[in-house]
């Protein structure tokens, strides 16, 4: 059946000549090792192939059934954010030379990818204030789990303390893995929206917090790291990398491992992925780091070059004793990340974050002044904050959607104690007039939903 797929290039004449060279009469003979009882014996129930145009039309129709951030004014964040991605990111990452190679196993012909990894690592080290970064991991929440594993390798202790302010997906992903490791995960509660550490003891391998935390509040990382170190535990911080433009860096605060989601650095939303996760740490933990690391060296002619280094950590060499089973980075997404950070530059990243800080403060004041809306906490925030609504949150969201506004993420599923909570994110794409529209929509929706609720309740 050769020639059915437009992505293969074997003609009927080729096929006959190739079979002859092999010395068989039919392709079927090449599958003779497969026991007859295991042959499928029917076509897969997947229908016919289609032309490029037909597939485009079909996928276009499906995409049109989604409401994207271009279709409404979106204030949802909660881990992924609608930041502007500059055109040059698309232009560079869509080049075949970056898009289509495999992992740089042959460094002589992979200097582009390897040097970009090195630059990425440098940028992450700068943001986090830590001296060691890998070339990226899958994404944010699983990076938290990966950091938990590093702490397990580092000190072998059986308990992790994780703040309730850590992204719920990250807490769950950590729990999924910790169960298999035989490690207990204890939750540290939030008090007034910031982490309240329980008494720690020497069974605790690491304390894990988020900066800013899921409710938007900025944590006192330094105090948390100090408390962890007091009992010989590591401090792991899951950080918003853009917020680190303004916040004291994890390295300055004494954090041992900084991880986080990288989507906000030049990656699109993509309904949740692919993006990348970052992982940075201290020199002391360099040989426990999972994943790829690019390093600088020289070639035989003395020219500067880059290679994958410290490879004995990795699964293809150390196998069951590897520091992790991760064998992929998110190279293309991390490339977008370093291009984006370069585009922002040393001053630009601060200006961008200060703009978000000011607009977020404005939005917070605006919403807090609405009837039926109050601040869920008054801790310092960067670009996300939480409010409590005097009306059923889901209904308020639906009413806002009718007005072309997606007002935020409902906290109820993850935080039943805040079932009236709404998490609102203000990226640089949300202007003052967008924020004013949010305020109007929320006021209308809360009033309507609150009234209906009151009637219903009565």
């Amino acid at each position: 059946m050769c020639g059915v797929s437009r992505y293969t290039s074997v003609t009927e004449a080729d096929r006959l000549a190739m079979l002859e060279q092999i010395g068989v009469g039919a392709i079927e003979e090449l599958f003779s090792d497969i026991p007859p009882g295991l042959r499928l014996g029917r076509p897969l129930a997947l229908g016919e192939g289609r032309s490029e145009q037909e597939v485009y039309d079909e996928l276009r129709a499906l995409a049109d059934r989604n409401v994207s951030v271009e279709d409404e004014i979106c204030f949802v964040g909660a881990g992924m954010y609608d930041h502007y991605v500059p055109a040059l990111v698309d232009a560079i990452t869509s080049r075949s030379e970056f898009l289509t190679p495999y992992t740089p196993y042959q460094p002589e012909v992979s200097q582009g990818t390897l040097q970009a990894m090195f630059e990425y690592q440098t940028a992450i080290c700068e943001l986090t204030g830590l001296p060691v970064s890998n070339a990226s991991v899958y994404e944010g929440p699983s990076a938290v789990a990966a950091a938990g594993w590093v702490s397990r390798l580092a000190n072998g202790r059986r308990r992790l303390v994780v703040s309730r302010g850590v992204h719920p997906h990250a807490r769950e992903a950590l729990g999924t893995l910790a169960h298999a490791w035989g490690v207990d995960v204890t939750e540290a509660p939030l008090r007034d929206a910031v982490t309240e550490l329980p008494p720690l003891d020497e069974e605790v391998g690491a304390v894990i917090v988020a900066q800013p935390n899921f409710l938007g509040a900025v944590e006192d990382l330094e105090a948390i790291a100090a408390a962890a170190h007091q009992v010989g535990a590591l401090c792991i911080a899951s950080c918003d990398p853009l917020a680190l433009a303004l916040l004291r860096s994890p390295g300055e605060c004494g954090v041992d491992i900084a991880v986080g989601e990288g989507q906000m650095l030049g990656n699109r939303l993509d309904f949740g992925g692919p993006s990348f996760g970052f992982l940075a740490t201290t020199e002391a933990l360099i040989r426990r780091v999972p994943g790829r690391i690019a390093g600088e060296t020289r070639d035989v002619d003395g020219r500067r070059g880059f290679v994958l280094t410290l490879q004995t950590r990795e699964q293809h060499i150390r196998r069951e004793r590897a520091t992790s089973n991760i064998c992929t980075a998110q190279a293309l997404n991390a490339l977008a990340g370093v291009i984006y950070l370069t585009w922002l530059g040393r001053e630009g990243i601060v200006e961008l974050c200060e703009l978000m800080l000011q607009r977020t403060a404005y939005a917070r004041r605006r919403l807090a002044a609405l009837p039926g809306v109050s601040l869920l906490h008054e801790q310092p925030v960067v670009r996300e904050f939480a409010v409590a609504l005097d009306a059923p949150v889901r209904e308020v969201i639906d009413r806002c959607a009718e007005l072309g506004v997606n007002p935020g993420y409902p906290l109820g599923r993850d935080y039943p104690e805040h079932c009236d909570g709404l998490l609102v994110a203000i990226t640089e794409r949300r202007t003052r007039s967008d924020i004013d529209r949010l305020a109007d929509a929320l006021a209308t929706a809360v009033a309507a939903a609150g009234a209906r609720h009151a009637v219903g309740a009565g």
Partner: protein, 132 residues
């Protein structure tokens, strides 16, 4: 060191480790890996030094040596307690390749059972075990 060599004053473990016992101080031994081992491993890039006081058990791994693309367990030729490690290897692990019986030594151990030495090979027997 380009050429294979197995000094006569050392004792050898068949897993390619050597022990040197100074007759003046027979309760201690210096350990390292043989020319054959370093050659098989290739360019050594990292030696993970055990902590002082670590118990070494004869025939069991007590640490690891890494080359660019391999990791090898280092086997204790004799039992005892680590009393010194070769700190210079942190900066120049290549000494294990260049001078495996000198600057490339790994640890010094206070022996718990000096009689174990009887089971080790002399240079001739070790050379024979390599089939050369």
């Amino acid at each position: 060191m380009e050429q294979a060599g197995y000094p006569d004053d050392l004792l050898y473990h068949p897993d390619h480790d050597w022990a040197r016992i100074d007759p003046a101080n027979p309760d201690e031994a210096t350990f390292g890996i043989t020319w054959y081992a370093q050659d098989a491993l290739g360019e050594v890039v990292f030696f993970d030094p055990p902590k002082l006081g670590t118990r070494v058990t004869k025939d069991e791994p007590y640490t690891e040596i890494e080359s660019v693309k391999a990791v090898s367990d280092v086997i204790g030729p004799l039992s005892g307690e680590v009393v010194a490690v070769n700190d210079a290897l942190a900066d120049s692990p290549e000494a294990i390749n260049e001078d495996p019986y000198g600057a490339g030594w790994l640890v010094r151990v206070r022996l718990s059972d000096p009689s174990e030495r009887e089971s080790l090979l002399d240079a001739a027997a070790y050379r024979a075990s390599l089939g050369s």
